[in-house]
Every structure is written in structure tokens, then in C-alpha cells.
């Protein structure tokens, strides 16, 4: 049954919302476990920091913050959600952790959550639904108008490799090192409506495009569009969907700071978009970021050359510092610098722990400890 596209809810400019899909693991062997519905059923929580929700399989849980004007607000909500979830998980003897993939779970063992929507997804996508037990961070940026949302969706598309490389936290799949920094997006790519938003000029054109998809029977609701960046009319936001769930909520907050500063800078300077040309290189650039992280070589379809992602990201962080200062999130943005210059990202940390421990069970155990550990006083600020 096709659902008509809802009206675009106008949000305050650059408000933020963050969703994190987290892993529910057994404390015995740190493999994924079936726990989500039991956890939700017994949750005693007044939603003061946002929501805790089911995701497609029983081994996943999603936390989403309240809409916030600042990254500090997001960080505070995430800390509250982490504490609440940690407490309830402890009562159920399960652990919770970040990361884009579980390093060694066996996807056939996953169970789809009860509910009509999840059941429909399983019927439609078959085993892909179980393989979709991957964990991402979604960042919502508020837009004051529907046209701005479509423009920002297009403009942010160019920076998809940057978000992928900065958040990459899924080097292991099925118990092996994939050589990817973010292997999670390979699971998403299998879905027919994944990829980039096509070149669209404004909201009216987006409505026409979506009606066309509905008429062809390809999509019924906007939830069917698994685009890397997509408008979310009911929230009045643009949603960046390519990040792996980081290993800490502080890193998740830093990525939100990047999204907010970058959106401000883009909306303020309105650079010329070459959406048609970008569409030709988008998949290649995305692959480069997933595979090589900061060492990716990004194709520029306008200058007709390749540039190291690390180099352009260092420039970008420098460019955004003024906007970040204005938004009060400069300290969060600065925390991303070591990842760019020293390869100190989550994928590197996971590989280092694997090297030290010699097995992936202990890596997940340490990952779970890392999520629940609160950093020492603003250590992230100066790291």
C-alpha cells in the first residue's frame, strides 16, 4: 500500500538528532544474542533523553536523541541513553556495544523482530533482511524549508566519503579481516533502493521523482529509500545515513558536529553543485572510502583528477572551524583531527585489539567496555 508523501515539517535551522544502532551481545561469549524485545518489554524509562526502539533483528537496538540545537545537547542525550540502556542490559545479563558490524556473528542465526513492518521487510528482502544486522549512525540536520532540504541532500552527497572514512568501524565480517575500513555498507548496497539521491533541483522535483517511483511500484514510502543522504519530511530534516556506529558516543557526537558545521557552511556559502557529474563518480568514491578509509583517493569529476581524502579532509576541518566556533561545537570537531592525521579511527583500534588479543571474542568484550566507559574529563577535547 503506497503512502502519500507527508508535508515537509519545517525545523529550526541546523537542529540535530542522532540515531545509533547498537549491538546486543551475550556476556558469555560476546556473540550477538536475541534480546531486543525482552529488553524493550521490560524497559522502565520516561524517554527524557530520546527513544530506545527495536530494529530489524533481535540482536539490534536503536537509540535516538531528542532534537537538539547543539552538539553538547546531543552528547548529553546520548550519555543519558547510554546509562539507561547499560543499566537495563545489565539487569538482563547482556552487553551492548558499538561498531558497524559484529565481527564474527553468523547471520543465519539472526531472528527478525516481531511486527508487521519487520515481517514485511523479511518477506520482501529474504535473507538480505538478516544480513542487514549491521549497525549505523544516522544524523539528522534540521532545515527551514523543503527546497533547502533537497539542496542540502545534494550538497552533502559530495561529502559521503568523508563521513564514511571518519566513522569507519567495521573491518571484520564473519570472523575475518575484510581489508575494508567499513565493510558495513556492502550489506546496505545489496538493497535495490540504496545509493545516491538522483540529481534533483528542488522539493517539487523530489515529489515528482517519488511519485514516479510509487507509480512504478518500486517504493511505497520514503522509508524504502535507503539513500546515503535523504530528506526526512516528517522530521523536517536531511538524514546522513552512511556512518558506521562508532565505538563511543563521544565519537558519535563529533560526527554530529561535522554534520552541523558542514551544513551551516554549505547553506551559508552555497557552492555550485555539479550533481550530474558527481553521480558518475559517487559509487567509486564511496568504495574508496569504505575500502581504504583515510588513504582513499577521491575522484573529482570537475577538476578531472584524484585527491587523497586525508588531504581534502584536513582542509575541510580547517574551513569548518569558524562555523563550528559559531555553533559552539569546535571542541567536538577538533576531536576528529587525530583520526584524519594519525589514522586513529575505530577500525584501526579494532584491528589493534585483535592483534593484541588474538581472538575476536575479546575484541567485542573490550568494545562493550569502551562504549560504557565515560571518558576522563574532556580527554577527547585535546586528544
Amino acid at each position: 500500500m503506497s503512502q502519500p508523501l507527508s508535508e515537509f515539517t519545517h525545523s529550526a535551522a541546523l537542529t540535530l538528532g542522532v540515531e545509533l544502532e547498537l549491538q546486543l551481545v551475550s556476556r558469555r561469549d560476546f556473540d550477538l544474542t536475541r534480546a531486543a524485545t525482552d529488553l524493550i518489554d521490560s524497559l522502565q524509562y520516561d524517554e527524557r533523553f530520546g527513544e530506545i526502539k527495536l530494529e530489524i533483528t533481535e540482536s539490534m537496538i536503536e537509540i535516538s536523541t531528542m532534537p537538539q540545537a547543539t552538539v553538547d545537547g546531543i552528547a548529553s542525550d546520548l550519555a543519558g541513553l547510554r546509562e539507561t540502556l547499560g543499566m537495563h542490559c545489565a539487569r538482563h545479563n547482556i552487553a551492548v556495544c558499538g561498531g558497524g558490524t559484529h565481527p564474527f556473528h553468523r547471520w543465519p542465526e539472526r531472528r527478525i523482530c516481531p511486527g508487521e513492518r519487520f515481517d514485511n521487510l523479511y518477506q520482501r528482502y529474504g535473507y538480505l533482511a538478516k544480513q542487514f544486522t549491521v549497525f549505523g549512525q544516522h544524523i539528522h540536520v534540521g532545515c527551514t524549508s523543503a527546497d533547502d532540504a533537497i539542496w542540502l541532500t545534494q550538497a552533502l552527497g559530495v561529502y559521503v566519503p568523508a563521513f564514511i572514512a571518519l566513522s569507519a568501524a567495521s573491518p571484520f565480517v564473519d570472523g575475518v579481516d575484510t581489508f575494508f575500513q567499513s565493510a558495513r555498507l556492502n550489506a546496505v548496497s545489496a538493497f535495490p533502493l540504496s545509493g545516491q539521491c538522483p540529481p534533483l533541483a528542488d522539493w517539487a522535483e523530489f515529489i515528482r521523482h517519488f511519485s514516479f517511483l510509487q507509480a512504478c511500484g518500486i517504493a511505497t514510502s520514503i522509508k524504502d529509500l535507503y539513500w546515503d543522504v535523504r530528506p526526512k519530511p516528517e522530521f523536517g530534516t536531511v538524514e546522513i545515513r552512511v556512518c558506521d556506529t562508532p565505538l563511543s558516543i563521544e565519537q558519535a557526537s563529533s560526527l554530529a558536529a561535522l554534520a552541523q558545521s558542514l551544513s551551516r557552511w554549505l547553506l551559508r556559502t552555497r557552492p555550485v553543485l555539479h550533481t550530474g557529474l558527481q553521480a558518475h563518480v559517487a559509487r567509486y568514491n564511496k568504495f574508496q572510502a569504505c575500502r581504504y578509509g583515510m588513504a582513499a583517493m577521491i575522484s573529482d569529476p570537475v577538476a578531472l583528477c584524484q585527491r587523497p581524502l586525508r588531504e581534502s579532509l584536513l582542509e575541510l576541518l580547517e574551513t569548518l572551524s569558524e562555523d563550528a566556533r559559531e555553533l559552539g561545537c569546535e571542541h567536538w570537531l577538533k576531536a576528529l583531527l587525530p583520526i584524519v592525521s594519525n589514522d586513529a579511527g575505530d577500525a584501526a583500534w579494532l584491528r589493534a585489539r585483535h592483534l593484541a588479543q588474538g581472538n575476536l571474542n575479546d575484541v567485542v568484550r573490550e568494545t562493550a567496555e569502551r562504549l560504557l566507559t565515560q571518558p576522563t574529563h574532556k580527554s577527547w577535547e585535546h586528544s
Binding site: A35, R111, N361
Partner: protein, 424 residues
């Protein structure tokens, strides 16, 4: 005529023996390995058949195989053969008990104190109600009523583990069934040790046994378990985690503990259970935490349940004892379900009740404990412990089905999940 026919192979063999010098004397008993494989195949076939045609848990099939072919019915498994197969049953039960001990996560009780309340009420209510039933309604003496309560108060770890494994169950009901079973077993072992002293005090003129026997077990089992666990962790620490070599070390240490416990007349189930707890709690560097027993060890469980089935004293069955056993099981069920209904640690009431149903099995450890106590004073013990043995006999068949029902109703099994629409 038939008797003569039966003697024919022996006569033929002995006539050949004079000419064929390589032939051994006519085998008086079946070889242990041959017996092992026969029990395995027969148990497996009946278990698989019942599972495929009636969807019954396989454990029921294994027990039925033992009951049908055991001394009580067809007699194909003789009492001597049972004694011969006992080391294998001990090894199987030992490995299963070690697994239950390894899964006992006492730190969960610290994180969820409500669970402590529910498990303590399960233990206390089960013991007290069964004791009162045996003493007041059945008319057993206080010592034998206490023995009956100690033997039957806990759930059956082996049945629970096998049923969970068979249904691929995963979730809170499953985890809590395992936790309650493990803690209940620990409590029943403590009660068992105390009861040993009481039984000696009642029947022996020498008070020394009343003190020394419980102490022998209370000190012996942990000591053997501690030594074997230290050995396993020490050697495994030198090997790569989750390696096959670690699996061998784990099994070899467990079998060593089984052997020493048998040599020193310390109950194997208790020793290996304590060893499992020590392996989990002393493993600070996660040396063996992720090392799992190979799938093949479940084959040993078939032998265990065939032997348990063959050990059940159906030949002594009377309708009165049967009714008393049913009464005990009803009282026990009320205690367990009531305890879980009263308090269950952050789980909704329907799921708590399912946990109560899931911990109903009563099996191998109860039978072995009963025989352990009965063997002390065979002339009295055998009849005095007919009640728990028949209760176990009934539950051998009903217990796995109840446990499976609880897991299925909770939606935590693979098949149960599928019936809810695509949740596989």
C-alpha cells in the same frame, strides 16, 4: 528347546576353539565399545524417530529406548551391562554438569537482585513443600523425607541444556531457565551433602560416618574440581584461545576429574559442576571462556539418557507409589511456578510463569543422587527412595516436553519464532 538353541553358538565356538588356535575364549560379556555403539544407535534412532514423527524432544526417545531395552522390560540391557556402561554415563553427565557450571553467572544476581529473590524462593519453597509432602502425606521418616526433597528440589541440568540446544532457544526465558537450574542444582547438592549425614545418623550406630561422609564429599569434590580446573587453565593458557588443542585440554581435564571422583567415591555430578564454576570464575584472562565443547559431546548424552532410562525401577512400580510420585510432582510444580510468579526479576508475569514451567524437568542427577543415597543402606534406601525415583521416571518423559513447551511459548525457539510470521 529354546535354551538349547541359545547354547548353540557357544557350543559351535568351543568346538572350533580346539582347532583354530587364534580364537579367544567365547566372549562372556559384550565388549564395552560394542555396547556403547549399540546404545548410541538404538537411542539415537528412537529419539530421532519420535522427534521427526511426533515432534517430541529427542531426550524422551533416549530414555524410552533405555526403559524398553533395560532390565525392567525386555532385559536386553542387563544389570551387568548397566554397571559396565556406568563410566560412560559418568563421563557424559560430568561433561554436561561442567557445562552447566561454566554457564552459572553469579554476577548476574548482583546486577539484578530480584533474581536472587526468585531463585532463593524457588529453592526454599521447593525443598520445604516436597519435604512436608513426603513427611506428612507419604509418611516417610524425617531423614528420608529430607533425602527425597534434596534429590527432587532442583531442575535437571542435562535435560535443560539438551532441550535448549535442540530448540536453538535464545532469550531471557532461556537464560533464566538455565540460571535457575544451575543455582537450584547447587542448592540441591548442598542439601544432598547434609542429608547424607542425617541418613547416617539415623541408620548407623557409628556417629563417625554421619560426620565423615558429608565432609569427605564437601571437601573432596571441590578439591578435585580445583585441581582439575587449575590444570586445565594452566595448560590452556599456553595454547591459542579457542584452538582445538584447548578443547582437548578441557575434555581431558574433565575426564581426569571424573576418574579421580570415581576412584575416591565422590559424586561425579557434584565434582564436575564445581569444576565448571571454578573454570568460569577463576578464568581472569578469558583463557577458556570461549572454548566450547565439540558438538560430538552431545552423543555422550544419548548414552547417559539410555542408561538413566534403563536404571529406572519400573519393576517395583505400584499404583500407590505412582500416585504419590504424581502428588510430589504437583507440589513441586506449585512451588516452582509459585516462586517465579511471586518474583522473577524484571520479566513480565507470563514469561516468569514460562520460566517456572521450563524448570520442571527432573532427571539424571536426581536418579544418580537417589542411587547414591540408597546405596548407603540398600535394605532401606531402595524402598525409601522409590518416591523420588518414580517422580524422576515420570518426569523423564514429561520434563523435556514441558521445558520445550516453555521455550516454544516464549517465542525463543527457532520453530516457535517461525510460527509468529517469518521470525526464523
Amino acid at each position: 528347546m529354546l535354551e538349547n538353541l541359545g547354547k548353540l553358538p557357544r557350543l559351535l565356538w568351543e568346538s572350533l576353539l580346539e582347532r583354530l588356535i587364534f580364537l579367544p575364549p567365547f566372549p562372556e560379556r559384550i565388549d564395552s565399545l560394542a555396547l556403547f555403539s549399540l546404545l548410541l544407535v538404538v537411542g539415537l534412532l528412537i529419539g530421532e524417530w519420535l522427534h521427526a514423527h511426533a515432534r517430541w524432544p529427542k531426550v524422551i526417545g533416549y530414555v524410552l529406548a533405555g526403559t524398553i531395552f533395560g532390565p525392567a522390560l525386555l532385559g536386553w540391557i542387563s544389570i551387568e551391562a548397566l554397571a559396565q556402561a556406568r563410566p560412560m554415563a559418568d563421563a557424559a553427565l560430568g561433561l554436561l554438569m561442567m557445562e552447566v557450571g561454566r554457564r552459572l553467572d553469579l554476577s548476574w544476581l548482583g546486577r539484578n537482585p530480584e533474581l536472587l529473590r526468585s531463585t532463593l524462593s524457588d529453592i526454599a519453597l521447593s525443598f520445604l513443600l516436597i519435604f512436608a509432602f513426603a513427611l506428612l502425606l507419604v509418611g516417610l521418616s524425617p531423614a528420608w523425607a529430607a533425602a527425597t526433597a534434596a534429590v527432587t528440589m532442583a531442575s535437571a541440568p542435562a535435560v535443560v541444556l539438551l532441550t535448549v540446544e535442540e530448540s536453538k532457544a535464545q532469550g531471557q526465558v532461556t537464560e533464566r531457565i538455565i540460571l535457575h537450574t544451575a543455582i537450584g542444582s547447587a542448592a540441591s547438592f548442598v542439601a544432598f551433602i547434609i542429608v547424607l549425614g542425617i541418613v547416617h545418623a539415623e541408620h548407623s550406630e557409628d556417629w563417625l560416618n554421619a560426620l565423615a561422609h558429608p565432609l569427605w564429599i564437601a571437601i573432596g569434590a571441590p578439591l578435585i574440581a580445583w585441581g582439575a580446573a587449575r590444570l586445565a587453565l594452566g595448560i590452556a593458557g599456553l595454547l591459542p584461545k579457542r584452538s582445538l588443542a584447548q578443547v582437548f585440554v578441557l575434555i581431558a581435564s574433565a575426564l581426569l576429574a571424573v576418574g579421580i571422583a570415581r576412584m575416591l567415591a565422590v559424586p561425579v555430578f557434584l565434582t564436575l559442576f564445581v569444576m565448571g564454576i571454578l573454570l568460569a570464575s577463576r578464568d581472569r584472562h578469558q583463557t577458556l571462556r570461549y572454548t566450547q565443547l565439540p558438538e560430538g559431546h552431545w552423543l555422550l548424552a544419548i548414552i547417559l539418557f539410555v542408561i538413566v532410562g534403563a536404571s529406572l525401577p519400573w519393576q517395583d512400580f505400584t499404583w500407590l507409589t505412582g500416585l504419590q510420585a504424581l502428588g510430589l510432582l504437583v507440589v513441586r510444580a506449585i512451588a516452582k511456578i509459585g516462586a517465579l510468579a511471586w518474583s522473577g526479576g524484571s520479566l513480565p508475569l507470563p514469561k516468569r510463569l514460562l520460566v517456572g514451567i521450563g524448570i520442571q524437568p527432573l532427571s539424571a542427577t536426581a536418579v544418580f543422587m537417589a542411587y547414591e543415597i540408597a546405596s548407603l543402606y540398600p535394605e532401606i534406601g531402595r524402598s525409601a527412595l522409590a518416591l523420588p525415583l518414580f517422580s524422576a521416571a515420570i518426569m523423564e518423559l514429561a520434563g523435556p516436553a514441558l521445558c520445550r513447551l516453555a521455550l516454544r511459548k516464549s517465542g525463543e525457539t527457532e520453530s516457535g519464532a517461525a510460527s509468529k510470521g517469518g521470525i526464523a
